[in-house]
Symmetry: D2
Subunit: 331 residues, 4 copies
């Protein structure tokens, strides 16, 4: 599905080289002050800086509000935000098509869509659509005024220092992966739903919609596997549920416990690497050498933090609205 | 929510010390041969062996079919499978209640449910409910006759050898965590849905419903973060999409690519450890020492493989039915 | 689907002659005082009186709470209520099966479920499942303390007087239909969701789940088709939105407008009539005479009011919780 | 919600006087040949003819495809179709606002959205959005090549002859209501889902999203209430389930039975009538006379048939895809 959420519901659409990408937010409460300027910071962060190792495709990324906004406020009707695609280059996609790029969705897309998929620049599978996630996050954060959500690179190209990691990628002339950590402060206890819709479940669901994510872990995560229970359990120290350590990453039983929410995601090296690779030519049946043309991001992880914050905000906003439902304020 | 899935839909209910736990499967096709005997193997695997370091609570775990089964076949109507709870001991839960157990859902449950939650033995948060997951998996696997799903412990108590890991836990008199890997063979290419409902997204969503899961990674997972693109990309070697390496773990662009599906999950050490711990007493306001009474599993990860296989089967069955929808066979 | 609702979610299961019918309510707030006694009145109303023209199958209809109830209060976890089936008679269903009963689901069920359906007494299509609706309504009404929901027969067997209508059915020795009206007082303005989930849409959706319903109309309904706009429009007379007339039946633009909610449903004569009928014998290929054995209700409409009130309560409770979500009380 | 459907899923957005209205279709299979020309006939039918008694607002209604279409075929990715709004006149909406128009959503919208709603021309509640329904219907019908769906006016202004009904409205200088009947031929038996998602339930749900609908009835509908069972039951005459009469309107037990599907809907007289009316002025607190400015449709029912056919197609396409899912063709 291209929709997500129960109250604060998102529907995403678009392709990399089609007329536009966009998102419709259904269930957004009325009365939120909103304008194009509110999107600037996060959209710019997502674009990444200009420099060696980053893609030269820079979109204007000016949000166009098709519906749901009136006199500078959300109306409560579906809010549709569209980003027209510019800066697309026709390119020789037909030729490239015979040789599905390793690590990309090219091959599976053709299997799935019978060859009718828009294959230009990855089509609907393109990272271009994350601009819509960032836009949704801007709106979601308006619903979370007392909550701070911050992401940062904790590892790039195998190095804890992101700049050094990028330098290594440039030196290697190869793409590199990374790890991004997200921390949320100010979350009340009790957010999340029982059983299937635990806080971890829904966050993980949303996070894996970000291209190139290969893993997610909460709190101590995979390291917890080698710990003992007595070392891992976080002692509760007061009536507010404050814990001494935070190995749980702020979640017990699938619900926020009032401490800081902490999780990390693994980003694989982007499949578009300048290195020559080999793949199967569907037309000739031969294995042939292959090089991704054009310049691409060598360290896509650098652009992930604002996207990760955005999907986190979207999930938390939906949970907060759900929780309000159960408080029964209207009854 | 306590429901999950789009076509093959599950609704789960029950508490550890209530009359029963159970699951309703809606959307299960008619005509599947099914009986209590089909559940035996997986239910037994979930119970774990008898021995030092395992819980002495052993339920009969005899499935009772309340609906949806007639003359030994599924009918197409909702299939409700109930497991009555036996072997519950009243215990002194009231006293325990004042001191929320570290690492458990006790504290957050009270925050969330205002004290009305069934707190006996973890209530609805209990691992007891995984018996329902295993039951659903048995049914789901009937829809996947050509697919094999196998899970195994790859690390326990910090050791690659599970027996050694358990021995260490017994020696330490402390609970330990572990890592469980799942491999699926026979999956066609093209399973998964675009954007939000990628194969990783929905698997992760389901997997985090299993208690004690702290992380999930696909293919090379977190290790991918330190790899280069040229090393990570899997070269396609034939028209069926077979790849040389399988760093992607069988998924590209959120869709199965026809290779083996591989993912791993991290299990934290179970919160119930024999070691003395400290927690906050809600009634006295004091920090006090605390010990979990009774015998509990020291290495809960040992019981996870059949549960992990079950949720994997449930997710894949739903995706396969969805894919059939789009093939339009009825049109 | 056998599930319904967005926050207050119902999953229904069971067959007429299986072990039990039941319902799971997910999303029910904790802290509602609830016990078997709360169900008595409505369950009894649904059973209808004892007498000529009514079915002799009378179930005990004692609710069994499998989960979600603890110490006399809802816990916030899924509330599963089961009604074991008693009073089933094995009967000669096999023989009857060759001749699908006119007006029943027999024929379509076999088409749909390939012959695997539980055909005894209508199976999952049986009116027996309405006991679950009534049970859900009892819970839903706890969420609507200031709202009254009342249904009454306005026509039976073509006569405005229900007793006379039943007398006519007995005299004709044939089943008869009827019209049931529902009125809801105390509803605040603004309940309902935009576009697809208008108050009419969701009420109609739920109402058509009641067996034998053939139509629904709001306010002036079908009579509105012959009215003029100036006669039909309800003048607003004060700031609370009170209208002089109530042709709209309490709904504008799909949302409650604060006036009385009024709608009517048409119930067809139940298909089980003592009269001899003709149908096709699947085995012999012949058209043959056919008579429904046993005594059945001649005027099933008499038993509809509590069921109609229940589904109305369920819909309104869900909308009220949704509306609370949007009020953002938790934020 | 502004989304509808389970496999063939619609998300609708837009306001009468905003930049555009539009619809995203998620789950549309790839490979359907589609272009602007395919929409012409139905969009033109929806606009109604030019003449006395019809609105002079005529939009170009040229579909713009934002996504999901490539080289003249659907891609399988979300298909977003946008209709820019032209022909909007600023008008003196502020002044009008103090006096909520009787029969319109003005009052409830303010109650619901706290005054933040786009009130110009009805905003999101406008009939303008039905252009999106018609567009979705065009796509849905591509999935139903062997099925014909036809709607016609059976009553207008209280007269069976639509032209006479319109003439009466013009003579009365008042708006009038009508009844529209829909017939579907070629439907296989077994479409519809058990319990909540019966064919009637989902059709009714969708139909009530069309503005001005006040009732729906299937087969004999409300007339069934006065019939006897022996007269109402349709005798099955052959192994294909053909019935002699069709009082059931092609549905038994919530599933299509293979006969013609027949249902009717009641359209109220549009609230915008040239007649002077009275309403409450929120600012002055006085009841004042009120006249809807501009020319409007006197008989909006005339424009309903293509919209009714469209929502019917949308519902049937979704059910057909669901049915395909259960056939398990991909397994």
């Amino acid at each position: 599905m291209n929709s997500f959420g129960r109250i604060f519901r998102l529907s995403i659409f678009g392709e990399s080289h089609g007329p536009a990408v966009g998102i419709t937010i259904d269930g957004c409460p009325p009365g939120l002050s909103l304008g194009a300027a509110d999107f600037e910071t996060d959209l710019k962060r997502r674009q990444g800086g200009a420099g060696i190792g980053t893609t030269p495709r820079k979109e204007a990324d000016e949000p166009q509000f098709l519906s749901g906004l009136f006199n500078g406020f959300t109306t409560g009707a579906p809010l549709t935000i569209m980003f027209p695609n510019g800066n697309t280059r026709p390119g020789d996609y037909e030729k490239q098509r015979a040789v599905p790029r390793p690590g990309h969705a090219d091959f599976v897309a053709t299997q799935r869509y019978g060859g009718f998929e828009d294959y230009r620049g990855g089509g609907h599978f393109s990272g271009r659509l994350t601009v819509c996630l960032v836009a949704a996050g801007v709106v979601a954060k308006l619903l979370l005024p007392d909550i701070s959500i911050d992401s940062r690179i904790t590892q790039l190209g195998g190095l804890p220092d992101a700049e050094a990691g990028l330098a290594r990628a440039i030196e290697l002339k190869d793409s590199v992966g990374g790890i991004v950590e997200c921390r949320v402060r100010g979350l009340k206890a009790g957010l999340g739903e029982p059983f299937w819709d635990s806080l971890e479940s829904v966050l993980a669901h949303a996070v894996f919609a970000i291209p190139a994510v290969r893993g997610i872990e909460f709190g101590t995560g995979f390291a917890a596997a080698a710990m003992t229970g007595s070392a891992h359990n976080d002692s509760i120290t007061d009536g507010a549920g404050t814990t001494g350590s935070n190995n749980a990453g702020g979640i017990n039983g699938g619900l926020s416990n009032g401490n800081e929410l902490v999780f990390r995601i693994a980003i694989k090296p982007t499949s578009s690497t300048p290195k020559e690779q080999r793949s199967y030519n569907r037309e000739t049946g031969a294995i042939e050498s292959f090089a991704v043309r054009g310049r691409h991001d060598l360290a896509i992880a650098l652009r992930v933090p604002p996207v990760l914050e955005a999907v986190t905000a979207v999930v938390l906003a939906d949970f907060a609205l759900l929780r309000s439902a159960q408080s029964g304020g209207f009854l």
